[in-house]
Amino acid sequence: MIQLRLGRRLEALRDHLHAFAADELRPRARAADLTGRVEPEVIARLGALAGERSEVLSEAAEPGEDGARADGMVAVVAAEELAWGDAAMILNIPGPGLAGPSIAGSGTPEQKERFLDRVFDGTAPRFGALAVTEAQAGSDVSNVQTTALLDGDGWVLSGTKVFCTNGARADVLVVNATLDVAAGRSGQKLFVVLKGTPGMRVGKIERKLGLTASETAELVFDGCRLPFDHLVGGEAALAAPSGFKGTMRAFDASRPGVAAMALGIGRAAFEYAAAWSATEIPAHSRRRPLVEARLGAVERELAAARVLCRRAAWMADHRIANSKEASMAKAYAPRVALAACVSAIEIMGPEGSSREHLVEKWFRDIKVYDIFEGTGQIQRVIIGRHILGRLE
């Protein structure tokens, strides 16, 4: 039977996370934005609540009547609520991050045990990260120039990665590098680099428009030596056609959650402007009907973004291929969330542009959601190919 209710367990999760977001994240959002830092004790609590070993999230994902675990749904519900609290702070949640799906999806059982289970054992806040982007290779991942050369019984990594979220603090870093630059995608493999490996150093930490409390690092590999078994998937990966698909799978899995974060930011701006206008724009004002109509349009678009995110997650939970649907959510949610932020600032006028309110911060934070983990343009290419096929 078609119905789009969350159900009792997910609703309870949403309410629980919302309370945390409202009480613990939102009040610290401005300070985190100005200092670019999140206090370690808040990071620890975020980790306990929403990290990999979170019991709250795990229980909410228990199989329901249809027998499927709801991990995808939990991810989008949590992403929306927590990003509503503060999007930058939740990028500091300890855990394997995008290194997780890369290793879990393509690694050997021994690698999963060594690089995920043993490192992320819950004894201390630890971080994973995925280093893909290079200065000249963003959306075009096939253009990656970082090389991995087999030298004796190990690899030598050389190249520079940029825009890596949590890259400097990562305990476990997954890096895509090419065995043969001329081979394009098919030459790319994934490698695990552990923190402190000689030959790897942290370059600059970026100064950004928004998400200032999230670390974005440049990583330089200069003759960085790795044991042979740091090749994700082991020896078998050499025979496999490409590690490129492993990289793409990591992004596929994360897209609905990233879209839901954008939705959370947009909803924050919408609710803030609605509450502000209720007291600041009197009922008899000529502006009132325009403001109400705009708020209504924003609310509608956010509602549409929400069901697109949840559909993609539901499909993933039911093992239905969702590449097109994940891209639809990722293409749509950041755009309407940005429109929500713009509308909120316009409604509030000069006060909306002031740092005494958070809407200007949300306007800065939201912009990157249409860029990272596949730009809106790349999402459209993916959607178009699914609908039209490859036409060349």
């Binding site: 428009l209 940005l338 006028g349 542009s353 860029i371």
Partner: protein, 386 residues
């Protein structure tokens, strides 16, 4: 119709572009960090006669007409919108004094402004009215034989340091207020941070005098000269928005030509080139509307009010969209402070709060299409000309 600038205008624009390119753009970050326009830039523009255009008899190099004013604004904002907003506001205050002030006021105030020994500021924008000069809610009243002002002004460039602080109140009317008598609160904003903007709060604040009025004349009636002067000031903001939008489109286009992905310059993909094309259309449409409004103002046409409202809204829309898409074209690089597009993205939104297209400009234009209301409802002016 003629879209050719005069030889003088063309020469001025060329000179300003050189300054914008060599001096203003390279200083943008430093000025933003400092929260002020640097002294060398102030000096250069003052010497050129565009910072504070004042007639020669008062020590300046001549007042600029509205069309020249918007050409100047666009070129300076191409260099940096925050710097342009900061520099032009002192000049806007001088222009208002020149256009509507009494001879005594001109003689007292203009020489200092022209020499740069006294800075001027024009407090115009309000929270709800934005730059709709007919809906301003700052009130005037008389108490103990003194005219007093009450209201709140936003984004007043140089408000905290102005020796000549002009406040636009209901009417519209323009008043001079002693800075120490008003509460001047420095703003901490998303954008236009180089302009050192401030809020000016007036609570029964005594005015020194009313610009353009002998003390006997009072505040009644809408003075066409005041409206013209204020529209000229408002159009400078629209010109800044056009310059910002053009800078963003040009920067994105240059990047799209150089940056390659999937074996081609990204500009070869329609997903990118269409974005740039759409924004280029926005820029041209906005600039033409701004020129039309400025020319109507110079010609003394009644249409100037309506056109200025349309131009302001169109220009900030173009700026917001162009800077958004410029960040998008640069991708992750655009989100970093290494490129100016993130700065323009913030500046455009701050500028948009003053001209909020659908809440200020469109609302004004819509007034002309309103059905007659029963008497007693909202008597304030709608879309009628000045």
């Amino acid at each position: 119709m003629d879209l050719t600038p005069t030889d003088e205008q063309a020469a001025l624009v060329e000179e300003l572009h050189r300054i914008a390119e060599r001096q203003i753009r390279p200083s943008a970050r430093a000025c933003e960090e400092a929260g002020a326009v640097s002294e060398p830039i102030h000096r250069a523009l003052l010497e050129l006669g565009v910072g504070v255009p004042v007639p020669e008899e008062f020590g300046g190099q001549g007042l600029l007409d509205a069309v020249t004013g918007v050409l100047v604004a666009e070129e300076l904002a191409w260099g940096d919108p925050g710097i342009a907003y900061g520099v032009l506001s002192s000049g806007a205050a001088a222009a208002v004094i020149e256009l509507v002030g009494t001879e005594a006021q001109k003689a007292e105030l203009l020489p200092g402004l022209a020499a740069g020994t006294a800075a001027g500021a024009l407090a115009m924008a309000e929270r709800d009215a934005g730059l709709d000069i007919f809906r301003l809610e700052t009130t005037t009243g008389r108490l103990d034989g003194t005219s007093r002002l009450s209201g709140m002004k936003y984004s007043v460039a140089g408000g905290a340091s102005a020796e000549v602080l002009l406040v636009v109140a209901e009417g519209p009317t323009v008043w001079r207020v002693a800075r120490d008598e008003a509460e001047v609160l420095a703003e901490d904003n998303l954008g236009l941070r180089s302009a050192a903007t401030a809020r000016v709060r007036l609570r029964g604040t005594p005015a020194i005098d009313q610009i353009g009025a002998d003390q006997t004349r009072g505040t009644s009636g809408r003075d066409p000269a005041v409206v013209r002067a204020l529209l000229g000031a408002k159009l400078l903001g629209a010109g800044i928005a056009v310059g910002l939008a053009r800078a963003a489109v040009e920067y994105a286009a240059a990047y799209a030509r150089e940056r390659t992905a999937f074996g081609k310059p990204i500009g070869a993909f329609q997903g990118v080139s269409f974005m740039i094309a759409e924004r280029a259309i926005d820029v041209d449409a906005a600039r033409l509307l701004v020129w039309e409004a400025a020319a109507a103002l110079d010609a003394g046409s009644e249409d100037a009010v309506r056109l200025a409202m349309a131009a302001g809204g169109q220009a900030v829309s173009a700026a917001v969209r162009a800077s958004d898409d410029a960040v998008q074209v640069l991708g992750g690089h655009g989100y970093m402070r290494d490129h100016p597009v993130e700065l323009w993205y913030r500046d455009a939104m701050t500028l948009a709060t003053l001209e909020a297209p659908w809440l200020v400009g469109d609302l004004f234009l819509a007034g002309a299409h309103r059905a007659a209301e029963p008497s007693g409802a909202d008597p304030s002016p709608g879309g009628a000309g000045a």
